[in-house]
């Protein structure tokens, strides 16, 4: 029973209670909070404009002036990585929001109404899942151009199938539950049944999965940028790694190490949160 879910949604005090109930969740949330603060105050923290080049200071090693050194064309790696946090979180949140909404819509319709709608929607899911996702993304970005908006949209529009399956599975079992029948007996419409009776009960297993979608989205954007498909006007960790590919041979290890550390830490914190949320929201699955 999703006893903790409404605790999550009800108010801030209980959110703290839920966080405290699971140590991993709290640790992950604190880590992520640091990154959120970095992203929000990136303009205050960064010492340079991330895109500002300086040909006289190319591949400067870490020093007091350039905390994490500079790349070949003199861009400050520290400032780049700080602004990159903002990029990564925007990608994570936006792409997840897009796929979450699509997944809910598809899963609810498919699971509740069944029949032909279910058949068609689930075959679309099957098809999307049978195409290697990352390659599909590469092709789409190449087709539609490497603008930041395109990248976020493409990642969001391609990440929903797994989530939709989870939602559908939940709805299939919730649909048969007694309280749904009781609500029907009290005159609830299909719309009420789906949105008010079934949806809130379907969320607990979906929320941790959505958190994982966020970390996957961040990785996908970094990977696209690493392949040179990133938006050059937007500082992204992946783009810095793309630059590091050459810098590393000139001894510029810092261009590789610092963005990598940030990627690992953000992904780690989100995954810990997903795991913690799963423990709290779905206590029966605890191992």
């Amino acid at each position: 029973m999703p006893v903790e879910l409404y605790a999550l949604s009800s108010n801030f005090k209980t959110v703290l209670g839920v966080l405290r109930s699971d140590k991993n969740l709290l640790a992950g949330a604190l880590m992520l909070l640091v990154f959120v603060l970095v992203a929000v105050f990136a303009n205050l923290i960064a010492t340079y404009h991330p895109l500002q080049t300086g040909l006289t200071r190319g591949l400067h090693p870490p020093s007091r002036g350039f905390l994490m050194g500079t790349d070949q064309i003199g861009r400050d790696v520290f400032s780049w990585v700080i602004y990159g946090t903002r990029t990564a979180l925007v990608v994570g949140v936006t792409a997840t929001a897009i796929s979450f909404v699509i997944a809910l819509a598809v899963g609810l319709v498919s699971g509740y109404f069944g029949g032909k709608a279910d058949l068609v929607l689930m075959r679309i899911v099957d098809i999307l899942l049978s195409i290697p996702q990352f390659i599909f993304m590469i092709v789409m970005v190449m087709l539609y151009g490497s603008t930041f908006t395109n990248i976020v949209l493409i990642i969001g529009l391609l990440s929903w199938p797994t989530l939709a399956r989870i939602v559908r599975a939940e709805v299939l079992s919730l649909r048969e539950r007694e309280f749904v029948l009781a609500a029907r007996a009290l005159g609830a419409s299909s719309r009420d049944l789906i949105l008010k009776e079934i949806l809130p009960n379907a969320l607990p297993p979906v929320i941790p999965a959505a958190a994982l979608t966020a970390s996957n989205a961040i990785l996908a954007e970094a990977a696209l940028s690493f392949l040179g498909l990133g938006d050059p006007r937007v500082p992204s960790w992946g783009t810095m790694l793309w630059i590091a590919r050459q810098a590393i041979f000139a001894g510029g290890w810092w261009t590789l190490v610092f963005p990598s550390i940030f990627i690992v830490l953000v992904i780690l914190s989100i995954n810990i949160i997903a795991d913690g949320l799963n423990n709290v929201l779905n206590p029966r699955e605890r191992t």
Binding site: V3, Y6, F179, R184, A185, L186, G187, S189
Partner: protein, 327 residues
């Protein structure tokens, strides 16, 4: 007692020749077979029968809440001059909860776990009274909880179902069902999931509500104690058919149909009033279409019972029996 119907004019709800079947694989299993039932105003009608007699299917069919595997093949459910079986889903939604409501067996699983009691009540009230304000709905919710005997209604509004006991949740379910002053309440085993003392409280509540709100109750149960306490008239169902219909008093004092006699006997055996007898085992005979359905278990079975199904025969004093012994 028997005149609870005549006093109250025309029936509020009239079921005529209702046939409901389930599809199980390729087989068609008829769960309700030509049942006709009348419910009058301010009357409690009990539908009694063992598991598989079709009583729950009947209760779900009245408001068309049956699962997709079930089909209503034939019949009429007449309520306020309208055949509920012919209404659209939209029209039905206006009748469900507002005119005819339902209370189920296990109250805790019939309440949505993610909403507070208050939110569920307010939601239901607003569904049927779109012109009501939030505060009015809340006031009505408190009033409802008070009327079903919940001690501190204001506090109860803030609880989730899992924080309340089964008995309290059943009171909440009843409050939900009565939120919009329905004229008929269908209660499907309303006390089976509760312990004995709570059962008694809920029964008293139902009886009291019936009187105060001039409510009609359709009581679906296998518990004859419940029937004796609450019901005015009884329909005994067996294998999808009505076997006997009578006022509650004469049903208990003078059961006619062998199955009714067996039911009443089994209660005596269970409560130790008759230690010499054994409770009859049930055996399924779902596929029978010919003859009396009860003949395999009937101590008085005649050769005629094998080949011909007995019709419902009215005896004197309003009793109706389906048995060749009285044909």
């Amino acid at each position: 007692m028997n005149d609870s119907r005549r006093e109250n004019g025309d029936p509020v709800l009239s079921i005529r020749d209702l046939v409901v079947s389930y599809r199980v694989g390729r087989r068609r299993i008829v769960a309700v077979d030509g049942v006709s039932i009348d419910v009058y105003r301010n009357e409690c009608v009990a539908i009694v029968g063992e598991s598989g007699s079709g009583k729950s299917t009947l209760s779900l069919a009245i408001m068309r809440l049956l699962p997709p595997s079930a089909a209503i093949e034939r019949g009429v459910v007449l309520f306020k001059g309208r055949n509920l079986l012919e209404l659209s889903e939209k029209e039905l939604q206006k009748i469900r909860g507002r005119e005819i409501s339902m209370v189920f067996q296990d109250p805790t699983s019939y309440l949505n776990p993610v909403y507070k009691i208050g939110d569920q009540l307010v939601e239901t009230i607003l569904t049927h009274n779109s012109d009501m304000s939030g505060n009015e709905a809340r006031a009505r919710a408190i009033e409802l909880l008070k009327s079903v005997g919940i001690p501190s209604p204001e506090r109860a509004l803030t609880y989730y179902p899992h924080q309340l006991s089964g008995g309290m949740n059943q009171r909440v379910s009843i409050a939900l069902a009565l939120a919009t002053n329905p004229s008929i309440l269908i209660a499907d085993e309303p006390t089976s999931a509760l312990d004995l003392t709570i059962q008694a409280q809920i029964l008293r509540l139902l009886k009291d509500l019936m009187r105060r709100l001039s409510l009609s109750i359709i009581l679906i149960t296998h518990d004859l104690g419940l029937v004796a306490y609450l019901a005015d008239r009884v329909y005994v169902m067996y294998s999808g058919k009505v076997m006997e219909e009578d006022a509650v008093g004469s049903m208990f004092s003078n059961p006619k149909h062998p199955y009714t006699q067996l039911l009443l006997n089994s209660v005596r055996i269970i409560y130790g009033l008759d230690t010499s007898a054994r409770v009859e085992r049930t055996e399924g005979h779902l596929t029978d279409t010919k003859g009396c359905r009860f003949r395999h278990r009937c101590p008085y079975a005649l050769s005629r019972c094998e080949s011909q199904e007995p019709p419902l025969v009215p005896l004197n004093s309003g009793k109706v029996v389906r048995c060749w012994l009285y044909g």
